[in-house]
């Protein structure tokens, strides 16, 4: 029996449940069907570039980028702290860091509503000190906070796993040669951690760009990101063509941003395509 035949059932599965569905999305984005048959059209893509939709795209990119930067700024020091602890303490901290992800992500996001709402815990606590804030919930900042909260581990863990692998001897060598800590960080640690940083950026930016749940829960019903727009096309207005075109543009954006980030990735396992 040839062993590679074993991969064929799975190959069939991918074709049916991954390739064909994606092909269907592309099909709906460029073809319309009516009584006279199937026609090629670019009208859906033209609509994507109308000002209202373009502004949704820009807003989504901006919010995802801000969340990614905040995650990087908060996460990098955290990854460094995790990486420098001794072995037993380190593993406990890392486990503690990952545990929150085992609580359902919707429930955690919902709990933020409790914390942020008008008479919520944060407002009450701040009111105690005489600070009155305008509503926290249903704002852009609440959405960014939700994204940072949900995706921070995706930034910290890849950076951490690169940092722990750095040979301590290299750092000692730099110190012995007279480099002050800042220089050691700038010239040795940071460049060596770039693969982790780039995968962290991908792992935060991608879900932040495509989510529709965080924006719906923390941004309110009228807060529209690309994800919400796509969801509406399929579930509310039932405009599959336009929804499909939006999805194709979203996929292209993801591929584009990934190809940029992956340039820094040295250990590229799965072959050239991605």
């Amino acid at each position: 029996m040839k062993k590679r035949l074993l991969a064929y059932p799975y190959g069939l599965w991918i074709v049916i449940f991954t390739i064909i569905p994606l092909a269907l999305i592309i099909f709906y984005s460029v073809f319309t069907t009516d009584a006279t048959g199937i026609h090629f059209t670019l009208q859906h893509f033209k609509r994507v570039f109308e000002p209202i939709y373009l502004s949704v795209f820009l807003r989504s990119i901006k919010i995802a980028a801000v969340s990614t930067i905040v995650c990087l700024l908060l996460g990098y020091p955290m990854a460094m702290i995790l990486a420098e602890k001794n072995l037993s303490k380190k593993s406990i901290l890392v486990v503690l860091f990952v545990i929150p992800m085992w609580m359902n992500f919707l429930a955690r996001t919902y709990a933020w509503m409790t914390l942020l709402e008008k008479n919520g815990l944060i407002a009450t606590a701040l009111g105690f000190f005489g600070v009155r804030l305008p509503s926290l919930l249903y704002t852009e900042n609440a959405v960014i906070l939700g994204m940072v909260y949900n995706f921070l581990p995706f930034m910290v863990l890849p950076i951490y796993s690169v940092l722990v692998k750095i040979d301590k001897a290299v750092l000692e060598a730099a110190e012995d040669l007279g480099a002050p800590p800042i220089t050691v960080f700038k010239r040795v640690i940071f460049p060596l951690s770039l693969p982790g940083v780039s995968s962290g950026i991908i792992m935060v930016f991608m879900p932040a760009l495509t989510t529709f749940v965080i924006s719906r829960l923390l941004g309110g019903a009228h807060f529209t990101l690309i994800g919400n727009l796509i969801e509406q096309q399929f579930l509310t207005t039932r405009d599959w063509g336009f929804g499909a075109a939006l999805s194709v543009v979203l996929m292209l954006m993801i591929m584009f941003s990934m190809s940029i980030a992956l340039r820094y990735e040295k250990e590229n396992e799965g072959g050239g395509l991605w």
Partner: protein, 264 residues
Amino acid sequence: MVKTAIKRIYTFLIFLFLYSPIIVLIVFSFNSSKSRAHWTGFTFKWYVEMFKDQQIMTSLYYTITIALTASIIATIIGTIAAIGIHSMKKMPKAIMTNMTYLPVLNPDIVTGISLMILFILVKLPRGFFSMLLAHITFNLPYVILSVMPKLKQLDNQVYDAALDLGATPGYAFIKVVLPQIAPGIFTGFLLAMTMSIDDFVISFFTTGPGVSNLAITIYSMARKGVSPKINALLSLMFAGVILMLLVINNRMSRDNGRRGENVI
């Protein structure tokens, strides 16, 4: 000294940030009124009442049956596929590996919608079965990507030696190959379970009326306020996960003295 203090405070603040919603959730599972913001007194009643709540119990049932079935099926198909892919030549191997990455890299929402379109077009009624198919689909890559590295580390000569000593290929596989790749299979299974239990987006698009998992139920409740019974259930599940982690951690530290990192 100042440096360590700053690091401690920073770590504390980050952990506070990560844990505060969870603490809120757990605390309010003991709150006697339905309010999600005001503390009115301590009670255990939600922990009793959740078992009587039809909607919550059905969604728990669907969450667990779908996660278990999907990850078991994905583990079987995925392990077999990984063995097949591993023995392929360079070119088809690269194609298969890239195709495996596709659902991982594709945005959830696109995966969910593309499957929804497929199910609508082939007139498969959306519900338990369609959701199960979708879960198997997004679980498969995690199993394959966990098993493949183990296969790479495998020494083929041991398998050949077993054959030379008269073992049938099936017997040699079970006695020689399987024990060596078992940790990868187990990791893949656990990953698949976790992804499945936590999934909202893909389930949301591929399920039908009457069939919802916990995440969908929470989403539909979020607007008018999630019942404290859900808080109670999630707190219990969370406690279960921590207990399981402690057990695994203990066993692992007994086994090889290294702790923690292997668990995740």
